[in-house]
């Protein structure tokens, strides 16, 4: 551990959705709304949060399976500090201009002179975007051209949530695992067969598996095939999206052990998305908690479990079910409706359900800040223990 592998800055991904069953109007769903993450080599970052809060979308943006609307994902940031500074300078200028445009739009709707002013500002914004892209093309995944992207893609892989749907049923296992190496030309012919066999050994599947189809395997075995596929290009980062949620506990334990052993062997970095907090807490070094497209708390795994600080995390931790029928839960039931990612509440998006909410929470969006024990939380009024 030590050097940084990824720096995610201000990541945003919006989806258009239809408004209401009887209307044709379109609204904007802010699936991910300004996420920052720093990911160190060899560590596991757990990503947790309410269903629909944007975890999968963050993962997919990292691999550029979704094109984000805004943000930077710098790979090997320590090697590119100069370029990153330039990009960030351009971005800061651009944000200032965008703010200006918004305030003009808000103030006056219409006069032609202003329209003209906005048009010229928009042109500058566009130029700044291009400049930043040019400056960041070697390190910002989202600015990369084809060649750099293809190099980056080899280093970033994903294990998908659903072991049933994520493997092509028409392909033999050896072709599923060998697809990447073939495409990137890292292994060919006999060497490819040998590599596939090595990967099967690594994930604990018999070599005979290579000539079978996915449907001939159980859920746990399919998840191993998915892991072998993710390893096939010797990546440095694997986004594991609920890799064990569909598996029963004994197979779940097998897959978790496998992931941990592979991490030690191959020096892998994981982003581990899951809703089972005991599992996340077990595998992660650090955990990030998301709420409605934003990060609300970052902390080391043990700290987060022992001493959650953000009011949302506190209620999340309190509702973890325990495998003991005599366990009395002291669950904090979240009051109020699940908020809408289409029209999120103003200020802190958690305020309608927060028992610690004060005036400022309804007006100002809290930013992530380090508190005295090294927890990073976004909250105006965190409860005292």
């Amino acid at each position: 551990m030590g050097n940084q592998l990824l720096a995610v800055r201000n990541l945003k991904k919006y989806f258009p959705v239809k408004a209401g069953p009887f209307s044709g109007k379109s609204l904007i769903l802010k699936a991910v709304d300004g996420v920052n993450m720093d990911i160190m080599k060899g560590e596991t970052i757990g990503l947790v949060g309410e269903s629909g809060c944007g975890k999968t979308t963050v993962g997919r943006c990292m691999l550029r399976l979704y094109e984000p609307d805004e943000g930077r994902i710098f790979i090997d940031p320590e090697k590119h500090t100069k370029a990153i500074n330039i990009v960030e300078e351009f971005d800061a200028k651009r944000f200032a201009l965008e703010d200006k445009i918004h305030s003009i739009e808000r103030e006056i709707a219409g006069p032609k002179v202003l329209r003209k002013e906005i048009r010229s500002l928009l042109k500058q914004v566009h130029e700044l975007k291009l400049k930043a892209r040019q400056a960041g093309r070697r390190t910002d995944i989202l600015s990369m051209g084809r060649d750099d992207m293809s190099k980056a893609r080899k280093r970033l892989q994903m294990v998908f949530q659903d072991p049933w749907a994520s493997l092509n049923p028409m392909m033999l296992v050896k072709d599923i695992i060998g697809e990447g190496p073939k495409e990137f030309g890292t292994h060919k012919g006999a060497a490819l067969d040998k590599w596939v066999n090595e990967l099967l050994d690594k994930v604990g599947l018999p070599r005979a598996a290579s000539n079978r189809y996915p449907h001939e395997f159980s859920g746990g075995q399919r998840q191993r095939i998915g892991i072998a596929r993710a390893l096939s290009l010797t990546p440095s980062i694997i986004v594991c999206d609920e890799p064990v949620s569909a598996l029963d506990v004994s197979i779940q334990a097998q897959v978790i052990n496998l992931l941990i052993e592979l991490q030690d062997d191959l020096d892998l970095t994981y982003i581990f998305i899951a809703h089972d907090l005991s599992v996340v807490q077990y595998v992660s070094d650090r955990i990030s908690v998301m709420y409605l497209g934003k990060m609300v708390e970052n902390a080391n795994a043990k700290q987060l479990y022992k001493n959650p600080r953000h009011p949302y995390t506190i209620s999340l931790m309190s509702s973890v079910p325990v495998a003991d029928p005599e366990h009395k839960s002291e669950e904090i039931i979240l009051e109020g409706d699940v908020p809408s990612p289409v029209s999120p509440p103003p200020g802190c998006t958690f305020h309608p359900r927060c028992r610690y909410a004060i005036d400022i929470c309804r007006k100002e969006i809290p930013v992530l800040e380090k508190d005295k024990d090294g927890h990073v939380i976004a909250c105006h009024n965190p409860p005292n223990d």
């Binding site: 408004a19 999968t56 599947l205 029963d248 506990v249 907090l277 077990y282 079910p321 029928p325």
Partner: protein, 361 residues
């Protein structure tokens, strides 16, 4: 709790494949009382879903077939009903939350269309009423912006949203029996807790009985009264939820409970070295293979000679506690002595067997 609502008698559901037969469910008995929550657990592929599909009469046929046994709802056989009578039972008396939302939601119709279709069919609603009710149901399962969501297609929803759409559909007709097959796997804990509360509410209102299939033992612990543990198509243990967690008898049940990570555990030991989770060695036997003895022999840490000879019966060791294992064939014991013995790996014979079983289809 009083009357038997649903009864499964000696159910056998087989799949006839080219040249061999998969014995997915191989003699399962279960009684579910009114208002009772029964949990079903067991390793992936042990026949939980096919037991449920048999009750719904939705086993894909061919290749599947219910070859023996009966399923009674309030004393009446479901297997003898005509398909159209069964369709009514499916909407009104029994509903099921399916394990794979993506395969059971129709990708080409909007969510609203799919929910309201059922409401129009089973609850005689007009189209407008049905859409309003769909919106209400989506809100009930904790989905924000239900007015927008009804217009979306399944692919636009996150995993957890899809699962909740399925739950809303199953709850729409307020059934007498609800079969929930892994209903909360894609949900975060707070939504999960909310869904469980909803299911409890429905239960209080309608005295609904629930069959809860899940690998999440924490949910089993908090939601069910009785637990059935399945292994390779048969029931290996059946007991009250307290007994299952406090006095597990069958070696498989014990292995299962040992595999759960506990909140607070970490992959590091205090000295910084790696700690791995306990796993049950080996895999389920090939369902194609007919096993003479106990089905768990290939992985059991306590296997004995006679285990290979004939299959043990499911016997009572105490009132309401049944187990299928020779360790308990003659005596009723408090806790099995082997629980203190350190678990060892597979013996030579078991390894040989494992090789034979190779990969399971």
């Amino acid at each position: 709790m009083s009357n038997v609502l649903l009864e499964i008698q000696n159910l056998r559901t087989y799949f006839h494949m080219h040249g061999y037969t998969v014995r997915a469910v191989d003699g399962v008995d279960l009684q579910v009382m009114e208002g009772e929550n029964v949990g079903i657990v067991g390793e992936s592929g042990c026949g939980k879903s096919q037991t449920a599909m048999s009750i719904m009469r939705l086993v894909p046929d061919p290749p599947g077939e219910i070859i023996d046994g009966d399923i009674l709802l309030r004393g009446k056989s479901l297997l003898k009903l005509k398909e159209e009578e069964m369709r009514k039972v499916r909407g009104n008396d029994i509903s099921m939350i399916f394990q794979e939302p993506m395969t059971s939601l129709n990708p080409v119709f909007t969510v609203g269309y799919q929910i309201s279709e059922g409401l129009m069919l089973h609850r005689d609603m007009s189209k407008n009423e049905a859409i309003k009710e769909s919106i209400r149901l989506l809100k009930m399962v904790g989905i924000s912006d239900p007015e927008e969501r009804v217009k979306e297609y399944p692919f636009q929803l996150s995993g957890g949203l899809r699962q909740r759409v399925m739950i809303a559909m199953a709850m729409a007709c307020e059934p007498a029996v609800m079969i929930a097959d892994e209903p909360t796997t894609a949900l975060d804990v707070s939504i999960q807790a909310q869904i469980l509360r909803l299911m409890r509410d429905l239960q209080q209102k309608k005295n609904t009985a629930t069959m809860f299939i899940t690998h999440d033992l924490a949910v089993i612990a908090s939601f069910t009264q009785r637990v059935m543990v399945m292994y390779a198509g048969v029931v290996v243990e059946m007991a009250s939820v307290n007994d299952i967690f406090k006095k597990p008898l069958h070696p498989y049940t014990h292995g299962l409970l040992t595999s759960i990570p506990v909140l607070g555990d970490s992959k590091y030991r205090d000295d910084g070295s790696r700690r791995l989770l306990y796993t049950i060695p080996g895999t389920l036997p090939d369902p194609k293979r007919i096993i003479k003895g106990c089905r768990f022999t290939s992985r059991c840490p306590k296997v004995m000679k006679k285990c290979y000879e004939a299959e043990p019966e499911l016997v009572f060791t105490e009132k309401d506690h049944k187990v299928r294992c020779y360790l308990y064939s003659d005596t009723v014991r408090e806790t099995p002595a082997y629980l203190d013995v350190p678990v060892r790996g597979l013996s030579k014979k078991q390894k040989k067997q494992a090789k034979k079983d190779k990969i399971r289809g």
